[in-house]
Amino acid sequence: MSDPISALLGRETQGSVQVSDTGLRGMITLRGDLSYGKMKSICKDLTGAAMPGLREAQFKGENGLLWMSPDEVLILLPYADVADGLAKIAKAMKGQHHLAVNVSDARAVLQVQGPFAREVIAKLAPVDLHPDAFPPGQVLRTRLGQIAAALWMTDAQTFQIICFRSVADYAFDLLAASAAAGPVGHFPRGT
């Protein structure tokens, strides 16, 4: 047995907007009826967060729930708690059609932080990132350059981004290049 490692091995950049690997993160893909009472309550039990509505991100501290599709949420919790979480879900959802799988190792989670973080992302993702349209509390599934990504904001200057593990280097290099190229000056700084 050896300690698991994240795809990016803690890489980070310096600069006004910093890109960094957030390390290992527990992630469970849960598919099912999001309005089902026991599903809501097991999600709440595992994270402390309420079931998110359309395109919402619900957090309680580091733990949270990301709306992925009308029948899918992504549960974010400590890496070490995943096996236990899966067991609890299986118990709670017994007899109810659902799918819960561990995807913690399938992804990389990156952070982009700084006064023009919005613009660093907007250079790469074909989405509306205006502060009015995408405040903290929402989640987007979109593209980052040529890869799929999901992103949300933890505060006005901080994005967290999930991508597939195999393209973590590409995502990191892309974000680092975007940050190094500087601000666009379109969105108000620090929002």
Partner: protein, 1001 residues
Amino acid sequence: MRLRTNGRLVAKNRPVHFTFNGKRMQGYAGDTLASALLANDQLLVGRSFKYHRPRGLVAAGAEEPNALVELGRGDRQEPNARVTQVELYDGLAARSQNHWPSLEFDVGVINAKLSRFLPAGFYYKTFTQPRAFWKHVYEPIIRRSAGLGSAPETGDDHTYEHFNVAVDVLVVGGGISGLAAALAAGRAGARVLLIEQTSGWGGRAVVDRPTIEGATAQDWVNATLGELHRMPNVDMRIRTQGAGVFDHGYALAHERLTDHAPKRGGPRQRLWRIRAGQIVTATGAIERPLSFAYNDVPGVLLAGALRDYVVNFGVAVGERTVVVTNNDDAYRTAIALVNAGLEVPAVIDARAAAKGELPDQARAMGIRVITGSAIRAVEGGKRVTGVSVCAQDGTGGQIEAIACDCVAMSGGWSPVVHLWSHCGGKLVWDDAQSLFRPDADRPPLGADGAGFVTAAGTANGHLFTAEAIADGFGAGRKAASASGHTRKPGQAPMGDDLAEAAIEPVWMMPAGAPYDLRSKMWLDYQNDVKVSDVQLAAQEGFQSVEHAKRYTTLGMATDQGKLSNINGLAILSNALGEAIPQVGTTTFRPPYTPLPLAAIAGVARDELFQPIRKTPVYDWHENNDADFEPVGHWRRPYAYLLGDETAHDAVKREVNNTRTNVGLLDASTLGKLIVKGPDAGKFLDMMYTNMMSNLAVGKCRYGLMCSENGFLSDDGVVARLDDDTWLCHTTTGGADRIHAHMEDWLQCEWWDWQVYVANVTEQFAQFAVVGPKARQLLQDIGGMKLAKDDLPFMQWAEGQIGGFDVRVFRISFSGELSYEIAVAAGQGAAFWDLLLKHGEPLNVMPYGTEALHVMRAEKGFIMIGDETDGTVIPQDLNLDWAISKKKDDFLGKRGQQRTHMQDPDRWKLVGLETLDGSVLADGAYAVEVGENANGQRNTQGRITSTYYSPTLDKGIAMGLVKRGPDRMGDVISFTKDGGGTVDARIVDPVFYDKDGEKQNV
């Protein structure tokens, strides 16, 4: 020449040094390269495309057809830069193009002497015969004489980026209409992006100086900019050109960030990818040249452009300028010139009378106005020396000659309708103003069926200040309202200017010009298309404007006919005897001016050109001399090269070692889909050709997936994890595609089935431990029981090996004893190291994809993409055993029952062995006697996989052969690389361990 009067944009206390064709020149901060060249009296800036005639500046903006230069050298070399759009900076080095050997003396000018042999459609008429001449004579000569700038030979060391933005209202154009539009939309509360292609705001108004809101245009522009800057919902960008408008309000804009300041850091250019609710095109208008003989001599330019040079930059082309016009606006140029202390010997006005306020003002200043007249011809070669004047209504009899060194012409103004038209906006001919303008009733339509583009101001056909600014304001208000922002923006600004009399359409000077004059009237300067060429095209039957364009090359140069299109189609309509609107315009296509490929590529270059997918042990592969090959976006080791081994030797070693000792394969890229739910079994029975619902928990089964048409699409091993959960392995390239395929059927067809699918491909690192010593290796590490009876062939189990949580599949793609072990991706690298460490005494070696291919081919296993190509059904590959007879239905069943699929003559899979032991060429055809209807040799089969087999020490192959399995032992001939054929015997495709004993130990 530089005037004593100050230009509004240049700072005479800040000189800037640059070179043109190596000659040192000086301009000022604020100059464009165009104005700086004029200040240095460098009138001659290029040569025309076909006749290599000397060319000077004609315009002052994006419409300039002649003055294209090459900037910089090496990794900063840029061809075809339009000098009117290049802002001057210290150290700028420009070179003219399309001349040989020099700009002043060009041997290509000989073409001009041959001009009567180079008529319209010359290319089509001349270069068709004889055929061999094309490659050896025409092509090289044309390349030499007709090129524009040369392509850079080194990489570009600038960076470029994209920026995605969504706005309520995009306003294109920063003249007074665009500013008014942005003001109205901004006040209404809409998110506004206002872009302007030049480096300054105000458009023509700040040059022509009408009154707005009781103040000068410049004051109003400044005040408006102030208000817009204070609005947090408005972003304004100069040096940003609206390049194209596309469906659903998508628009592209091109921002030049450091072109004017090359020492500044950061990206050079930015491509804005804009999703706009509404788009206002306030793109202004472009002045039209007049068609008179020798209107291409350097020193003849557009009246408005000359006014720009005088007012903005304090430069002029000559001391004595003749103005020629069919409208009142050109008188502004005459007035501006006289105000700047220059001479205007005459304004030649084609109209019978010139009675507007501007002509009156000109006359009052002592300027001579000659009405009802035309320029018969321009005198001079490399620059204007004079004009001869004739009656507009006549055939060109000279009335008088006027000495001058500059001619300013105006044939009226054409609204810039490009962006309006890109996505389907229609035009209407405005007879009173002689121009095409947007038809407000037929705008480009969005997804909701409503228009999403509004043309504004001059671009909408409102040529005068009061209407233009009010129209812009109204367009901004309407666009904001259409995007849900209905706050009242207040009153539209009031504009006021001198009243102008009507324009008179003049498409040729004089109206009855004979051929010798018409053949010297240039319509398209860059491509050398003249009035006579368009008339000839009409005579020869090219009646459609689109055909005439391609036949004559009118409007096909890099300026895309910004100056020539309307004049050309007017000539065409005249020649055809039809009205202009009946002839119509050619299609306006994006981009508005050429976009650099680098801007389109953005950051996607070098290591960011394309994502490379890496497995959890990619670094180990890289550090151990893996020779990578792309598999989808993955990079997989083809082979690992030891020492100075060739790839061929490495593959041979890897195969032999795996068959005698133990090999390791990184199989992490294989697709892994979890399928779960009460209906999952039923669903998989539809997805696969064989039964999956009856697979026992703990067991594995090889399965095939077909498209609806019955063609084999993907394959892989399915494992049943528990009562309602299956794990489906797909091919490396198939993971995403098959996942989407499953979701498609579940979401669109069987939405009521209770099945969920998740793609867990990347959750696991998966390694194949393969070879006679595989079990020993795993037992040496220690952990779960893996003996034959503990984990029989085609079963799986979970447990621990060496302390790692693993899922082990007893499956084989090589014919050897084999375990595929899945471990969490985050532990993949550590587990791989463990396998290598414990395998060392057993001679463990990793092997790459080529060894995998060789070993599977030795076993006669098919490979999706080799044995399949989208036209192959499983039955062609003798896979009938994997097609369930029990099931009522599965995807592809019906397709496979079609007559052609049941044809006994289909090409079917067989093994092939050359008689001489050589390796057959990949894709080689089996030849047959006779020829088909096209005179091609008949064929009876083709090679799908072919390798040198280290195990058998000879070439082995698989192929599809007509009735192949019925012809075992037959010898047929295959084509060879380099010609000839090679004989091969049809054999069983299983070359190695036919009974499958080795994998089942």
